[in-house]
């Protein structure tokens, strides 16, 4: 048979043998298990500007619980829900920062700690907690200058 005929047959055969693309399996987005010695909730004295409602307190507890059980995603979602109710609550932002550290998202954690401090006003305990987190974060990120600056600020905070 002429060669070009064979070629055509082969081509047609190859084309019809093509299978439809397979569906890909979606990877699930679960976080790893943290070391749960430290509680999620940042230490805080109720400050003048944030009177935490019972609802948000309950949610903070739930987030803490989920965090201890290693369900970081649930803890995160609970904190975000709480933030919709009290968007200016610095403790919530601080807890979210701690969560991010556990999730290994260190740069995000630092920013959230900064956010918490912006809202923290004169809550010294909370500010110190955030600065400590910031120091840890900057050190991990290799940002020595920033880490030093935070260390100095912490030093100045001591009575």
């Amino acid at each position: 048979m002429p060669r070009h005929i064979l070629l055509l047959i082969a081509l047609a055969g190859a084309l019809t043998a093509c299978s439809t693309p397979q569906r890909m399996d979606m990877p699930s987005t679960t976080a790893g298990t943290p070391s749960t010695e430290a509680p999620l909730s940042a230490p805080s004295r109720p400050s003048a500007t944030t009177d935490t409602s019972p609802t948000v307190l309950a949610m903070m507890q739930r987030a803490d619980q989920a965090y201890r059980e290693g369900r970081l995603d649930v803890a995160e979602m609970t904190l975000e829900r709480a933030l919709r109710i009290e968007p200016h609550n610095p403790v919530l932002w601080s807890n979210l920062a701690s969560l991010r550290m556990q999730q290994g998202r260190v740069a995000d954690a630092a920013e959230l700690a900064l956010k918490s401090n912006r809202l923290a006003a004169d809550d010294r305990r909370l500010r110190r907690h955030n600065l400590q987190l910031l120091h840890e974060a900057y050190t991990q990120l290799g940002r020595a200058t920033k880490a030093e600056a935070v260390a100095r600020e912490l030093q100045q905070m001591r009575p």
């Binding site: 002429p2 005929i5 055509l8 047959i9 047609a12 084309l15 019809t16 439809t20 569906r23 890909m24 979606m26 699930s28 987005t29 500007t49 409602s53 019972p54 609802t55 309950a58 949610m59 995603d73 649930v74 995160e76 979602m77 609970t78 975000e80 829900r81 933030l83 919709r84 109710i85 968007p87 200016h88 979210l96 995000d108 920013e111 959230l112 900064l114 956010k115 401090n117 912006r118 809202l119 006003a121 004169d122």
Partner: protein, 775 residues
Amino acid sequence: MAKQRKRRSSKKKARQSTWRGILLRWLLAFVILALLIGGFALAYLDRQVVERFEGARWSLPAKVYARPLELYPGQTLTREALRRELERLGYRAAQERLAAGTYQYANNSFAIHQRPARFWDGEQPAQAFRVTIVGERVERLADLNGKRLDLVRMPPPMIGSFYPSHGEDRVLVKLDEVPPLLVDTLLAVEDRAFYEHFGLRPAAILRAALVNLRAGRTVQGGSTLTQQLVKNFFLSNERTISRKLVEVLMALIVEWRYDKNDILEAYLNEVYLGQAGARAIHGFGLASEFYFNRPLAELNPEQMALLVGLVKGPSYYSPRRNPERATDRRNVVLGVMGSQDLLAEERVSLLKSSPLGITSAPRSGRSLYPAFMDLVKEQLRRDYSEADIREAGLKIFTTLDPEVQGRVEQAVTTRLQQLERQRGLPGGSLQAAAVVTTAESAEVLAVVADRDPRYQGFNRALNAKRPIGSLIKPAVYLAALRQPQQFNLLTLLDDSPLALEQRNGEVWRPQNYDREYHGQVPLYQALAHSYNVATVRLGLRLGLGQVSEVMQDLGLEAALPANPAMLLGTLELTPLQVTRLYQTLAANGFRTPQRSIRAVLDARGEPLQRYPLQVQQRIDPAAAYLIQAGMRQVVEEGTARSLKQRLAHTATIRGKTGTTNDLRDSWFVGFDSDFLGVVWVGRDDNQPAGLTGSSGALPIWTDVFAHLPRRHATLPPPSGVNEVWVDPHSGKRLDGPCEGALHLPFIAGTEPPPGGRCASGGGAGIMNFLENLFN
């Protein structure tokens, strides 16, 4: 000789047979080739059919949900708002029992029995609870036994569904969910022999061909439902012979592969039945909602007749645009229903004189929010791979707040009409776009892209780039305030005549809106009154690079072009882009990416992607606080002061008006500690609308914010910032508040020197009080 002849003749014979052989071989090759091509073509068509058919049949559209309403004690919520939410969810007043999906109301208290709902953090079972609302506040939340609850999350109302791959809406119906009368009517009108034929009706085709030939044009169709389905699925409306042939082949393939009921079901969900702007209405389920605001199962016979009648020509017989034609067509179908014994004749005559019953606008529920849906689709396309979003049955949980959306829509519609009337502008000449987000978390609560919010056309919020005018000024002033050693809110700026020679030799003389010059003015005042001249001077002194840097820190993607006119906002941005920039200021210097989607679940209910809350400090909180104070003065004494007459609690509002050359664009951006709103008003043809930011966009913004559940919270100043009382005339510090004094923030160490005098003449504070006492 004989040998030669013999040889010659055998050679001749051999030549002849060779020719024949070659011919035969080529014929054979040709036939094989034709068969191969034909087979290949058929295989190709077959695959097309399977892909499309299976894709439509088995694929569920993505379902899009608004935010779930969360209830908690102390929340700002009215009873009317809760009722509206219940309506969106399709909950009905309970007749006797409080079954799932029903509620009872008595004495300020709603008893609600929730249906189960799937959220991104898991399944929420059905639950019953009682919520008591007094005035505008949730007083109490408890289960039916009286046990207090601190939080209840209602299921999220569905706001639309679409196939992410082609963006079309569907309301899928199963064949057994479609009223039998509708099916029977459809078959009676369009394809009586549907269950008998094999995909084609050759007799019908021939008959139609003859009729059409005689008439000289197409008057009769011979297409079966199968052929129509194929046409809807794949092909355009080309009526060429090759198209017809492909259609026929595909119809045969469909009939061969699928059974009659499957074909019918696919048809019911695919048939084109209308147009809403750029949005095509496919399927009886969606058409039922679109024309009658009700699900298919609730249609009356005359409504079914209308829909079936539309199959022949949805535009030609459009009930909204051609009601007379639509009525005639509907009555033809009613006639068929009568003659085929689907309806009693007396009923048919009665129904023929009934009105069409078309609603003017679709009810809340399906895809009522095309502008917001555009944003959702954009976020999906941006953040997901094609493979992810092609997956069927996605559940998309968005940030849309239907209450806020409703307010914005109302404000836009009402105010534009009012403005046109008041100023004698042609009706419909003004257009608007608006975006509302939460201040701290940048969740998009509402998007309006057209004065007719139902219209799906050009999305002005997303895509209309307009010069931002004075909206750029806060960036210029922020650039200054970032240099606290040189600038604070009281620093005097020069608003005297300025002449700048341009590169092309021309002289540019920037003008203030009031055509006056104001000499030496404090920085905050230049911002509050939006003085162009002072701003240009300031910007040139700082350097355009500084301003550009601020814009980029705020979130502008590209650098600003380096020309002085930029300082007055020749930069063109969409309302959404403007929102992103001001979001950083509303969030106190933290750049916060806008979110219209909270989470996406796949068909199995597993989280596909979450959009976590993320922030990034880009503007020093101290500088951010200072510029916010400047923007406070815009409202307090500046170009947006008219706001105070229409809104209570303006002490926490920061804003900026924006007006462009010749009053073509009217902008207002305003935020408090809870919400950020951006409004643009103008004309599509870019002709001057004759509106300033405060006369056009501001009233719309005000109407919206008057109804938002604001908390009126003030944030304390950040560390390193001190707020002091100052006398604006001398620029000096006062001991305390008094008449004419201003409370302004300063970076620690840059506060003005003491020695200010009150407007009353004293020095303020206790000494002044005593002084006045003894005088």
